[in-house]
Structures are given as C-alpha cells and as structure tokens.
C-alpha cells in the first residue's frame, strides 16, 4: 500500500513511450493515458458486449439526420490538474476549445502525432487546416465550439464509428498552455483532468495519485452494465455509490518478461498480471469453468477474456513470387502455393503449444465474439491437410527445386522465434525445404513495419487488436487503399472487395452490413491471402484484495478507476 491510503499496483508487459495522448498508439500508452486525461466517451466498465458511456461529455452525442453533424455537450466544472503551466498555477476549466485543440494537434506535423488516421478525410476542413500550416489560431470549419461547453463536429460523410474514436487515448483532452510550456517534454509530464494525476513516470513504472479535483462521479453498477448473473462473484456490489476513483494511488509496472512478472506477483510486488500462456498448466485447475489450482485459489482471483483481435500471418500479395502476378498462370500457381501453405499449417498444434489450447481458432478475419462472426462458416482453411497440401503443390508443378525461397519476418521475441521454427516444421511436412524459409528478425515493430512495407518480407506475422468494437476495423485490414504501410500489410488488392468495403463502411450495424462483411471474409479466405486466425484467450489473475473486473481491450484503461483495494479499509 502507498504512503497514504490504498494503492493498487497494476502490471503490463510493455511500457508506453510517452504519456502524450497524441502519441498513445500502443495499448500500454492507452491504458495509462485515459487515467490521466479525460476523453469525451469511454466504455462501460461491466457491459459485454462493450458499450459506450459518456465520460467528459455530459451525454451521448446528438447526431443529425444525415449523420453529418454531431453535437456534444461537455460536463461543466471539470478542471485540469494544477500545474505551473497555467497562469497562477491552478488548473483551469476544461472547455470545448480544448477538445478541438486536442484533435487539431493530430494534424500538426510538429506534434508527430499518431492518431490522425482516425479523422483524416472525415472532419470538414481539418486536412485543409493542416495544409495551410496548422495554425491553431485559424478555425477548422468542421470543429465548432458553439459555446464554451458545446462542441459541434461536421463530418464529410457518415462515420458511424466516430463516437468510438472519441473513446480512444488519442482523444484525450489536453490544455494548450501545458503543451506549449513543456514542448517536446510534454510526453513525460501529464496535465489532464482524468481520475489520476501523475507522480512519476519512467521505463519501469508509472505512479499516479488520485486526482483530488476529479469531477464528482460515483460508481453506478447499473450504468456500467452490471450483470448479476455472471458478475456477482466479483464482489463489486458493496462499491455501489462510492466516489471514483476508488483507490488513492495507482501504480503500473511495466514488466516485459513473463517470468519476472509472475515472480513479481508471487512476491506481492504487483497485484495483477495477465497470466503468461506458458503458465496456464501450472495455474489453472480447470479451464471451463476457469479455476485456479488450490494453492493459488486462496490468494488470487481469476478471470478470462477473449482478446478483441486475433493473430494471423499474411502473404505479401504484392510480391509476384508468392502474391498477385500479372501472369494469370503464375497467379493461379501462386494461389495454389499459398493455399497449400495454409493447409499445411497446423492451427491445432499452434493453439495447443503456444496458447495452451484455449485460443479460438476461426477461419478468416472475423473472430468469434464479434457480432458479424459466422459460426457456420466453412472451417477447411483452418484444418490441417498435409496430403491435400502436397497434392495441391504437385498439381501445380511446385517441386522442392521450384519452390520460391520465402522470407518470414517477425519482431524479435522468443515466442515469435519459436513460432517461426514451428512454422518451418509444418512446412517441412508438406515438403517445403528447410533452407527455403528464411527468418528476418526485427528489433522493433516500427522497423518490421518498414521492412514489410518495403517488400522485404514475404510472410508477415501480425496481430491485430481492434481499435473499437466494430467489424469495420477488421475488414479494413484487406482494403486495397490501406495497403502497406497501412493496415493492409498483405497489400491485398481485390477491386470487388474494395467496392464492398466502400459500400459497407458508412452503414450503421445491420443484418445487411453483416452480410457484406461475411462476403468479404470469404473472399479473403478463397484468395488464400492470409493464414488466419486465432483469437487468444487472456487469463487475468489478481490478488483477492483487489475487487475488480480487469480488461485488456476497450476498457483496458478505463476500468482502473473502478478498482478497489480491500486493504484500504483495514
């Protein structure tokens, strides 16, 4: 426990680079940033499937009939934390202008912000504002402060996911004074209006204290989507009505190594971990329902959640050796080669050896737990068929001599390397010579991105974490214009697919849209553009003293204000 009051020590397997919301591109940054800064919206703590809730905004947005104008009202009386950057040092009130400024920042090259893709081409006048020199003193036509607490946004076309973008760390509201006062060092400070304020931050941990000036908000189980049926065991009921945040001090330890993280939990240095997959056998007594081995059960609580995303390996479709080819014959042979590789891939074994068998293997790119997932889909693309693969190769004239040498890229890590070795072993089974599959290892994800964007890598191992709970975020992964360096790392290009995407994107969720998405999914499968996929099951474990429902996806940072430490009462 902390010096004065209750402390909860969270852990993550990576560290944020910066606490500037404009840089919050990683799950690690996001988790921290939303506790230091306010976003207009957030996700409800307990609702599954995930549902939005107003945060800094007073209510859900009002959309115009055509979906092009969105009006949002901000809670009055919310203040930034005190900071020398403000005249007099006292934090001033948060206004609509701050929200506008915070979005504008993403379009200012000097910020090097990473969130512009959320709003590019979407908000009237924003791109023009940037082209004109990103002068904060000129207005953006599509971002209007109707009054100090009312914001109106004009969209260029309907954007049903817009509210979701306002629940991202990127959309954290920052005060211009502090940004300008601290300049580049702003990322190491934090001057926000979130539930916590920054005490210290380095590559090992961030320490935050309760923000004493946090707007008065209380824990309302119903508003957070509490489901007594599944969630009564969490012991959250007594927390009803308590003021947020519930703890006085929040610490987040960044521990990259699984072993160290586990040791730290067992040593009582941290209160929570995401259990490493290698550990499942030691930790879990049963998988369904989830329970801990008796030794641990006294001390720890456990919960599982499917990740909002999946892992897959793309083929570089722009590479004529294995992807699209102008020569129709070669194009067909390449497709056969890709399909053979996919058939040779043993998802079963991958799941068992790396995900303890509790990951969900599914065909294509729409994982289970997403409403558009089709449980009835044909599963041949994720079932191993070594004979079929060999036959396919033989039929298409692929011999050990003619098979191309594949480069397989991955960012440096033990698990990735083992997965590579496993992959190469799978391929050996279908007759792919060992020395025709070469690993290319990259120390950083950014470097890896560069490499596959430049076509160095033919097999691109990836994972996708959804930015918001809407399948549009999934199908865009194979949309032609998003080709590498964009999210379409396969550089998949299919005009038919692109047309369907453009048709479906502006549609609000509906059975019609679901149908379109499923068709797109099947196209990716039929073209053998990717070896996909598996949705990991995450297992969380925490000290029983902490009463909470942890999450790593959409409420990954937001839930921390609801965490309660029993020891605070003792």
């Amino acid at each position: 426990t902390g010096p004065d009051g209750s402390t909860y020590v969270h852990s993550m397997d990576g560290a944020p680079d910066s606490l500037d919301p404009a840089w919050a591109s990683t799950i690690y940054a996001n988790t921290v940033v939303v506790n230091l800064y306010d976003t207009l919206y957030r996700y409800q703590y307990l609702a599954r499937p995930y549902a939005l809730a107003p945060n800094l905004a007073a209510a859900m947005p009002e959309s115009s009939e055509d979906g092009l104008t969105v009006t949002i009202r901000i809670k009055p009386g919310v203040h930034f934390v005190d900071d020398p950057a403000f005249p007099g040092g006292a934090g001033r009130e948060v206004t609509a202008a701050d929200v506008i400024y915070s979005i504008q920042r993403h379009f200012d090259p000097a910020t090097r912000a990473r969130g512009a893709w959320l709003w590019r081409d979407r908000i009237v006048g924003l791109d023009e504002w940037k082209d004109a020199g990103a002068d904060y003193d000129t207005d953006v036509a599509g971002l209007v402060a109707l009054d100090s607490h009312t914001l109106q946004v004009h969209l260029t076309r309907p954007y049903p996911q817009f509210v979701h973008t306002l629940a991202q760390g990127y959309a954290g509201v920052v005060p211009r004074e502090a940004v300008e006062a601290y300049g580049r060092a702003f990322g190491a400070k934090a001057v926000g209006s979130g539930p916590f304020r920054l005490v210290s931050f380095d590559s090992a941990r961030v320490v935050m204290d309760r923000n004493p000036g946090f707007r008065a908000e209380t824990f309302d189980l119903a508003a957070e989507g509490y489901d007594a049926g599944t969630q009564s065991g969490l012991g959250l009921e007594p927390l009803q009505g308590r003021t947020l945040p519930l703890i006085d001090r929040l610490e987040v330890e960044f521990i990259a190594e699984d072993a160290a993280r586990w040791n730290a939990l067992r040593g009582g240095e941290i209160d929570y971990i995401k259990v490493p997959a290698a550990q499942f056998d030691q930790v879990l007594a049963t998988r369904k329902p989830l329970s801990l081995v008796p030794d641990l059960a006294d001390e720890y609580a456990v919960a599982a959640a499917r990740e909002a995303g999946f892992v897959y390996t793309n083929f570089d479709m722009s590479n004529p050796l294995i992807g699209h080819s102008d020569d129709p014959d070669r194009d067909e042979r390449n497709r056969a080669l890709r399909c053979a590789i996919i058939r040779g891939f043993d998802w079963e074994q991958r799941n068992e050896r790396f995900f303890s068998g509790i990951g969900a293997v599914f065909p294509g790119i729409i994982p289970p737990d997403v409403p558009e997932h089709d449980p009835a889909q044909d599963r041949t693309s994720v079932q191993r068929d070594v004979e079929g693969a060999r036959a396919l190769l033989a039929e298409n004239g692929w011999t050990a001599e003619s098979l191309p040498t594949l480069t397989y890229g991955y960012p440096s890590s033990v698990t990735e390397r083992q997965m590579f070795e496993q992959f190469r072993a799978f391929m050996a089974d279908i007759g792919y010579p060992h020395d025709r599959i070469k690993p290319l290892v990259y120390a950083r994800f950014g470097d890896y991105q560069r490499a596959y964007s430049e076509g160095e890598v033919m097999l691109i191992t990836s994972g996708w974490t959804m930015d918001y709970p809407d399948s549009e975020n999934l199908v865009q992964l194979f949309y032609g214009p998003h080709a590498a360096p964009g999210a379409n790392s396969a550089s998949y290009s299919n005009p038919e697919y692109d047309a369907l995407f453009e048709q479906a994107a502006p549609m609000p969720p509906s059975p019609a849209r679901t149908e379109l998405y499923r068709r797109m999914n099947q196209m990716v499968i039929d073209d053998c553009a990717t070896i996909s996929g598996l949705s990991r099951t995450l297992v969380f474990m925490w000290q029983k003293d902490a009463r909470m429902l942890p999450d790593r996806s959409f409420t990954g940072g937001y839930f921390l204000r609801f965490v309660d430490m029993a020891s605070a009462d003792e």
Partner: protein, 317 residues
C-alpha cells in the same frame, strides 16, 4: 615533460579520441540506425505523412551536416529531446544514470575488494591449498556466463522455486532498506561474474610484485607479511590495479549493467541506451555516445593522474 606540455598533449589526445568515438558511433548508430519513421506513424499513413515524419527526423539531410550539428550539440551539451518519449535527454540521463550507478557500484567495489583480498592471500600462499582453492574457484567462476549467473541467482533467491528472499525485479528505492532489498541480488550476480577474473588478476599482480627484488629486501630487513602485502605490494601494484579498475568502469556501467537492468527490470542507462539503439532514438544515442566518450577521455586523464600519484617515476619525469 612540462605540465603545460603534458596538458596540451592530454587535451589533444582526448579531442582526437572524442572525435573518433563520436564519428564511428555517429555513422553506426545514426546513419545506419533503424528508421524511426514507421514507429512514429499511426495506422494507415499516407506517403505524405511518411515524408513529413522523415523530414521532422532530419533523415532527408546530408550526413555530414547532421554530424556537424551533433558536434555542436556536444559542445553545448544540449541534446534536445528523446524521439521516443519526448523527454529532455538531459533529464532522462540524470534520471537513469544515478540508478545505474547505484545498481553497479556495490558489486563493482565488492568484486574488486574481495578480488584483491583473495588475490593477495593466494599470492602469499602461492602453491598452497588456499591458493589452489582460490585458483580453482576463479577458473570455475570465469567459466560461468553472466547470463547463467543472473538466471540461476534469480531462480535461487527470488522465486518460489528457490528461497524466494528478494524481489525478482524492480527498483523502488526510497531508503537504505529498500535499496539493499533491491540491490542485493544484482550485486551478488556482479560479484560472482567478476570475482573469478578479479581474484586471478590481482593474484598475478601480487605474485609478480612478490617476486620483485625489493620485496626480498623488505623481508631481509624483517618486514611483516602485512607490511609487505599492504605497503610494498599494493603500492607497487597500484598502477595495474588502478588501470583495471578505471578502465572497467565504462564497461561495467554501460555494458555490464545492460543485462542486469534487462533482467531485473531496472530503469537504468544501459537499458535506455539499448532501447535507443533498437528504436533509433538518435538524440538519446548521441548523448550517451558522447557522454561515454567524454567519460572515457576523463578516465584516461584520471588514470594518468593516478599513475603520477602511484608511481614517482612517472610523476617526476
């Protein structure tokens, strides 16, 4: 050599070294460094955005002009802000360097002091059982990889598989107690990995000194073992000892602490630098590189001064 001449010479050599180190490191760590552009871009970037970021990072400028700028930064000691975190590089270093120092100093000192004690004792008892045990132990110690030592110590001392006495990782120091709590296992690791080498080195220094004629003179005039070891041997071996101690400082502090920091999750300068290399964080790299070069040059000057103190033959010639 006159003092002025000596100083001029030291300064010139220092400057030449500094220039060399910065140039080599600049070419290697900056010119060939990983391209940061992609790490700085959000999802689905446009070509224009890519160009923008590259310009922001200065990648579109010629190498020579970037090197000259770097030298300017070195002279003013202003390295700007980290490309990754935006933190001021100077702040970053003043945050991490003390941690690294606090981490390695106990092990470094202990490793050397124990090494000297064991080395002197072994040399004094040359060929006897104590010597044989020390030598056998040091051969075994030298055959252990730092990595193995760290992992083994962590299993033994910090996990439920072993004694589970110390924290497995972290660095939350707010007083002597917590400092000892966190520093013990890294210190043990550092001592284990250096002791073999140190004991052997100091033994050979002491053995060589003990063979010198003036030791025979001292014994012929009734000097006690303590006098011989601590007055004659140590004073005469001082240059060898100082050289080793001084020149292992940069290695231990930057290279040696890297594994410890990685493994024990300690926010020190070794890890920060390694990360800066892998991510191509040039401002940080430039600062670390120039600081180590400056430190190296200072150490060399310091070593020279120590030689002058330790050996009157150098001092008065």
């Amino acid at each position: 050599m006159s003092t002025a001449r000596y100083l001029a010479r030291a300064a010139l050599q220092g400057a030449a070294l500094l220039l060399g180190v910065t140039l080599v490191s600049f070419v290697l760590m900056v010119h060939f460094a990983p391209d940061r552009t992609w790490g700085l871009l959000g999802k689905n970037p446009t070509a224009e955005q890519v160009a923008e970021v590259r310009h922001e990072l200065g990648y579109d400028r010629p190498l020579a002009s970037r090197y000259v700028d770097f030298l300017g930064e070195l002279v003013t000691l202003d390295f700007g802000h980290s490309d990754t975190t935006g933190e001021r590089v100077t702040d970053m270093l003043s945050r991490t360097v003390p941690v690294t120092l606090a981490l390695v100093i106990p092990g470094f000192i202990l490793g050397n002091v124990l090494g000297i004690i064991l080395g002197l004792a072994a040399a004094w008892k040359r060929g006897r059982w104590l010597d044989r045990w020390v030598m056998a132990g040091s051969v075994a110690g030298m055959s252990l990889s730092f990595l193995v030592i760290i992992i083994a110590l962590q299993i033994l001392l910090c996990t439920p598989w072993g004694l589970d006495l110390f924290p497995a990782r972290g660095w939350r120091v707010d007083g002597l107690g917590s400092y000892l709590w966190y520093v013990t296992v890294p210190t043990l690791a550092l001592v284990t990995v250096t002791l073999g080498y140190n004991a052997r080195f100091y033994r050979s220094v002491a053995a060589e000194e003990l063979d010198r004629n003036h030791i025979r003179t001292a014994r012929a005039y009734g000097a006690s073992p303590a006098t011989i070891l601590f007055v004659h041997v140590l004073r005469n071996g001082a240059i060898a000892i100082l050289t080793r101690v001084l020149f292992s400082i940069p290695l231990v502090v930057v290279s040696g602490s890297l594994l410890l920091e990685t493994y024990f999750g300690i926010p020190g300068v070794g890890r920060v630098t390694f990360d800066a290399i892998t991510s191509g964080d040039q401002p940080v790299l430039k600062a670390v590189v120039s600081l180590t070069a400056v430190a190296f040059v200072l150490l060399q000057a310091c070593a020279d001064a120590c030689y002058r103190w330790a050996d009157p033959r150098v001092a008065r010639s």
